[in-house]
Subunit: 132 residues, 6 copies
Amino acid sequence: MATLGFIEYGDASPEVRAVFDDIMRTRNTDWINNFWKAIAHDPATLRRTWESIREIMAPGALDPLTKEMIYLAVSVTNQCGYCIASHTAAARKAGMTDAMFQELMAVVGMANETNRLVTGYQVEIDERFKTK
Amino acid sequence: MATLGFIEYGDASPEVRAVFDDIMRTRNTDWINNFWKAIAHDPATLRRTWESIREIMAPGALDPLTKEMIYLAVSVTNQCGYCIASHTAAARKAGMTDAMFQELMAVVGMANETNRLVTGYQVEIDERFKTK
Amino acid sequence: MATLGFIEYGDASPEVRAVFDDIMRTRNTDWINNFWKAIAHDPATLRRTWESIREIMAPGALDPLTKEMIYLAVSVTNQCGYCIASHTAAARKAGMTDAMFQELMAVVGMANETNRLVTGYQVEIDERFKTK
Amino acid sequence: MATLGFIEYGDASPEVRAVFDDIMRTRNTDWINNFWKAIAHDPATLRRTWESIREIMAPGALDPLTKEMIYLAVSVTNQCGYCIASHTAAARKAGMTDAMFQELMAVVGMANETNRLVTGYQVEIDERFKTK
Amino acid sequence: MATLGFIEYGDASPEVRAVFDDIMRTRNTDWINNFWKAIAHDPATLRRTWESIREIMAPGALDPLTKEMIYLAVSVTNQCGYCIASHTAAARKAGMTDAMFQELMAVVGMANETNRLVTGYQVEIDERFKTK
Amino acid sequence: MATLGFIEYGDASPEVRAVFDDIMRTRNTDWINNFWKAIAHDPATLRRTWESIREIMAPGALDPLTKEMIYLAVSVTNQCGYCIASHTAAARKAGMTDAMFQELMAVVGMANETNRLVTGYQVEIDERFKTK
């Protein structure tokens, strides 16, 4: 179903395999998901996307679980089916419990609601919220 | 600029004032922001929205700071100017540092990118991501 | 601020003036709003857009007020500031009261919320909702 | 396929059953759809969502059919597959004919088009559309 | 699965057939896709939509391939599954190679990312970008 | 107004200045726009974003003008005010004439319309559009 199909590990060029290996090493897995196999047709995009993800999702001021939950919140807001499936799995792997999932969904739903209420009522930004 | 204008505390009915008081008590503030003053023209919506927010944003499996950052992530994804301003302030009040803010934005940006890459490439969901 | 500026009635070509005249006649007004003046730089787009609007927004199985409220609901969902301002005015002109406006906003907010809840929970469509 | 699966009526706690009963009573149906069964894993979200829907969708300044059509308009704009299926059914149940449906879709399509035209041309809001 | 089902060529009224014939003539094909067959239940919408598409997608200052790629870029941004499938096919027919497709997707992904970064950081528009 | 303010060239660290210099060299300009100055507070995000943009927007199977117009199309779809202003300027610099701009807007508007029509009518994807 993927537009260009998948590049499987066994058929991958050295350049693509290097990225696949780094994904598996970093994530401590032994398989490559469909997203990476699909964009692997464009090795530059595969490399650039993986390097960005690896840097952005690493532990920092925010821990990996928080980052995965933010990723899931965006994916739900954007109605991206693949992303919701894969990032729900990733967040669970990072430690998201069912209770966390439920609270996350409640916040995402409510934010999508009030985002529209405030804009629909054409509310101007409070002076004290404005930065210099 | 707000479509129906604002209901100021001094002009509010007892029903609206009760909600304003609860907002200030719960948030430990002495003022009401423009959003609440705008939707206060519809007391049912004001009450329902506040009670939902109060329940959803309370500490639980996720702490209030994480919840505020999720709220901000959704608001940025939806391009809601008022929400970004007010929830950036709320997240900071809950403990978000500049470093956390920057990492949050990086995740939001990346998620909005890969949400489109995977859908643009028409990637089917991996079997192992599907729930029963 | 408009990218190509505005075509004012006095400066308009006969082709553009014909559309401006039809807008004012159909809407029973004596002025042309900024949207029409901006896209008038592309007479084909001006004509095509006006003719579509005139046909779509005419009374039919749905009355003009209902149609304007739907237009406003979409504009709020899409966070389009100009559209919210102009269609709030149009809906009011067509008969929308403050009470109708408030109920409309409540529905729009709630729909944006449950749209995300159902997708976030990856809920499959009930068999009985599926058409043949 | 739902992330947490469904809570069926027979397996529901008294708290969840009370909400299920109220849904069926209010809607005059004898079954619970997948959306409610999915979010029932979070009884607080189930209760809060149902109570909001019940209040918001009740007859008021806008009748239930108009409200359902607005809900459908938002769901289409947001590309929510489940919501389009379930709210098309709900709107039909409330009295939406095929002719109404077709006109609704035409308005939703056109609004999504002009929302982008006006923003793409960077059109400033007319002074007379601005509220005080 | 389509809400109203399809109008097949053989069952079409003269009015609908005239549009179907024009589609096939203009596109040099011998078949009508599901989208047209679905909206054909509303002949006015079918006619208006086809005439708009025919005018908008014709060669002009932009060539048809560029226009199809823009159409695909929007469809990916909006997460429209049908549109991505049909416009990928249309763009390929107009001359889009795999390399073009990959570069298109990379731009769409990046644009969706920076759109959120700039709004999340609440960046004001540079004076030199503002039109008169 | 930017959440963290701007890092001006004169105040920039060597790491940030290196990116600023590369932007100006690559784009043949003598100034840095507000977007780069805002995200420069996060040097990793500045570097990663610039390197991605530089790679993605370089001439390839698609020329830079086509890429800028796609970027603008996405920005309009997402209603991003800053992006529309800056990418309209960038596209013009790359050679976009007013006629091209107008045709681009017409395509973006129409795509946003039909994206909703097809999903609203719940149209299933034609078999011949599906890839293997």
